[in-house]
Amino acid sequence: MLSLVTTAATAQQIAPPEIVLDQSGYYPKLEKSAVVLQAVSANGFELLSMPDRKPVYTGVLSEPKVTGYSKIKTRIADFSAFNQPGQYIIRIPGVSDSPVFRIAEGVHHDLAVAALKAFYYQRASSALDVNYAGKWNRVAGHPDTSVYIHPSAASKNRKADSKINVAGGWYDAGDYNKYVVNSGISTSTLLSAYEDFSEYFLNQEVHIPHAKNKVPDVLTEAVYNLRWMLKMQDPADGGVYHKCTNLDFDAMVMPDKALSKRYVVAKGTAATLNLAAVAAQAYRIFKHFPEQYPGLADSCLLASRNAWRWSLNNPSVIYDQDLLNKTSDLKVSTGTYGDKNLEDEWTWASAELLASTGEQAYFDAFFARLNDPVSLPSWSNVGILGYYTLIRCEGQLPERYKSVTSILKKKILTLADRYLAAFKTGPYHTVIGTSLYDFAWGSNSSAMNQSILLINSYLFSKKDVYLDAAVSNLDYVLGKNATGYSFVTGIGYKSPMHPHHRLSFADGIAEPVPGLLVGGSNREKQDGLKYDPEPELSYLDDANSYASNEIAINWNAPLVYVANAMEYLEKGMKEGMK
């Protein structure tokens, strides 16, 4: 079965794309370009309207560009100046016509909805109803209502082998375990999308179960994981368990067939600060929904304060799975999410608590770490999330703390301007892809987090060029890349069919669960499979390729942010409402 799958995938991959573009389409008022991957003698290109094949625009191809890290040469067909909605192809003498693509307002609506709904499909402990999940409906698995306390997590009130209820939450990735540190950035990214674009989300319909309670779907979905994160906190002391997990990864079966014992493992400072941050952010949001979620906001603030207090008393409890396995017979081999540098977690949590309470202690903790450099966020590098928050909440900060945001903005703009330079000169006319090091594990999520940084830069600077750069990376993950794949399941004419994702693999349905962003090109190839040697082609649509074709909640969350942000911001541009 697997070899057949692999053969089909390989067959699909051997057709080299000649002109690659955003398979979801382009916004009329933003950057629009395609990339020619074959050598051509022509210097011009034409846009033809479809279906009548009438020339509507003529442009000049860029000079050939080299990547500097591969043998691939590219030429850019930039048609940003053309802004008429419709369906088109690109024609260049000497290569096949491009596939049909759209220019339209709201062109990424389906993507924006699908990316968010993907979280619904990732729900643990819950049956997915056919009315919402369609053909991907399934019975519940992993109830997680009686999860064992692993010896590493034992405490005075919770002895080893006793049980607690940690039901709910999202499956982390292609596996069925649940990790607080990865949940933190994922949940926060959804909450940040809401905080930045609340007006937009109030009217979005994703078709997930809710109580017709006028709560935006993005919040309904975020609450599903938030409530699980809250359960991962030991109410006796405020510490948070690192993960809810099997001892080993499940087989490639559906959730209801995965029946291994589940454990909560070791409290740690990273997990606890993640909860402190997310719960503080949730407090800010859910205090505006007291009827729909009575008591939730206050519970979140209390949980956050308790988590902060535990962290102050336990400032550097690192999750070390190797050490844990040396001291316990119940050895754990699932994802580690170990992080030895927790300064960025302190930055993030202090910023969220400062934004939510305005209290001096949190400002002091944040200010004490203001010399630290910040960079693109990931599950282990979350400091800049706190910067986004304080800039977003600047208006609500006590007056004496407001001025610090100009430092944060400057640090963010330093990164944004670097991305802008990459966008302008890069071989794919995208931010990602200018460096060999861009093609690492989860490269597509890096692309989306770069876009979030650029969107944030746009929000406080109002410079359109940051939006152009941000949307260029969306073009990248949707097909304007060397592989010619749209890396989002169910979006585009060539998208992953065999992600490393147990739900998609085991459900007996040909199409994978839709709306999932796979990891993407990864020159490090940790799964040992045979890839194309070029860094930007190091991708396999193969269920075994966990290094390039797995999915993960922390990769989908920035896709949700970017796709929905662009839908909202593009509308504003159209209406001149910036």
């Binding site: 002091d364 200010f367 004490a368 770490r369 203001l370 001025s403 100009s406 430092i407 330093t414």
Partner: protein
Amino acid sequence: MLVGIVMLVTSSTVFAQKNLVVNGGFENELDGWVDYSAKATPYMYSSGKMSSAIFSSDSSKWTGMHQVVFLPKNTQYILMSAKIKADAVSTGTKSWNGALFLFETLNKQGTKIGEGINIASVTGDEDWKLYEKAYIIPPGVTQIKLLFALGYVTGTMFIDDVSLKVITQSEFEKYL
């Protein structure tokens, strides 16, 4: 009223620009400095008539000098700077080994907080060059220890025009 405002601004600017380092130009030889092997020298300088020189022929040793600077209350932003010249400074076994300009943060008890932070690590030959570091003072830090040393290398380093000034936030942001 207008005069009062102008005087206030002028006074604030003067305060912000004051060099808190004692004898940063080494015109009074090594007054104010704790030295382990440094020597004041009139034969090489960037400004004035003197500089400090540190020489080492033993790459197994750390040799140099330091000065602890007390910060005014509620200091939030500082600028540290010095001019350094390197003569035949070898490379060490670690990437940071060299002619070093670094600092440590201390609390009011004089206890070091965290690790030292490198501002410059110079090897080989290099003419006088200005090194600067703008820094945010974390809560609880009341003193800065400025250190110059040959860190596990041989050669000679010259130091001149050492400065530590309190700066404003807007001045700090110029260094971001």
